[in-house]
Symmetry: C2
Subunit: 236 residues, 2 copies
Amino acid sequence: MRSRAESAPSFLYVPELGEPGARLELTDSESHYLARVVRARPGDRATGTDGRGTVAALRVIAIGSRVQVEIEHAERHEPKRRAWVWSGAPEGSRADWLVEKLAELGVERWLPLQCERGSWSKGAARQERWDRLALAAMRQSRGSTLMTIEPPLPLTEAIVQAPAEAARWLASPKAPRRAPDGSPGLMIGAIGPAEGFTPSEGGALEAAGFQGISLAERRLRSETASLAWALWWANG
Amino acid sequence: MRSRAESAPSFLYVPELGEPGARLELTDSESHYLARVVRARPGDRATGTDGRGTVAALRVIAIGSRVQVEIEHAERHEPKRRAWVWSGAPEGSRADWLVEKLAELGVERWLPLQCERGSWSKGAARQERWDRLALAAMRQSRGSTLMTIEPPLPLTEAIVQAPAEAARWLASPKAPRRAPDGSPGLMIGAIGPAEGFTPSEGGALEAAGFQGISLAERRLRSETASLAWALWWANG
């Protein structure tokens, strides 16, 4: 174990960061973490993010069931490159780690796609678990973007709602490989379910401007393809 | 569900494939799969691999508790590009999916690395579970290489045993990004444990010819970095 003094400052999720000088109470989970896990003391420093691009230096003022902190300074990181991932349903229970990995890589928004050959079941408990996983991954990677997890949406509706300016990619084993593309702005990666998109779904995506991209020589599982696309984006 | 006729032929693991014309009995698990899951009948075709690069067309001769097949023809695939991955211990129980994903991507050999800041516990049950996961991943991706899973080994021993001709890569957030490298032959990717390699371990790897490579802009978890390196290799 490394001692407290050697570690990087604690990285906290503070949804409502204020201006420098402001004091605020942390949420229950962040208070617990700081008071009980890290055993912070008044005067200790921590880092906080609102999950929407702002990162702040914090100073601990008072320890209690709710920890009080003061904002020392804050900086807004406007991400130059943003990614949304649309994922068809994988086989079995592979979605949890997919959520964790996409959040870790800094994907801004994840949309479970309802497809003809694979559908996501709905469940409030699962949504809460996913939100927790995304939050833990942001903290662990010390990122400043909390991945938004959408409720499952049919492909046609997802296409209608896609921002006009987004670059659009469709994971397809038959398409060409592509070198990493470092273009700024928003990119959307669409990945079919375990059984693949149907020809009509593929046609709808092509008509909407989605370009094919192959992500490996081998046939990838659906969830691996989602992650491979996010890594391709992250390497741009 | 797709009907049996529309599906690709069943993909089986047959460790001891013979010459064309030879007849042999499948293992219990492959027999069960063919007889009970796919409900194959005499005369049906299947594909088999020995997990060491040979793929054969099989014809079902007789269904029973052990299914009998005849080898129609066999083809040896000599992989031009081969990958070994050395992984330090990740946090928590993230190794299972790592095994599945590395096997899916066609990694030839996986070595859990014992490091100063992270060690793998040993366990026969876990080794069996990993072997099963690697086998399932090979079948699912219809690959012809069954990933070999080594017992955990200290870094220094791993370095001594590395084949001289292997190209050597070290995942490091501070190193430069690299375009995919399609060189033929064997590549080894070394990834530290959750807490990272120590400076002396990093020095030993550098002295042994390991070149740094950064795999994403963000700090990656150890198991994500292993997978990211394998995807970088798979894209070469």
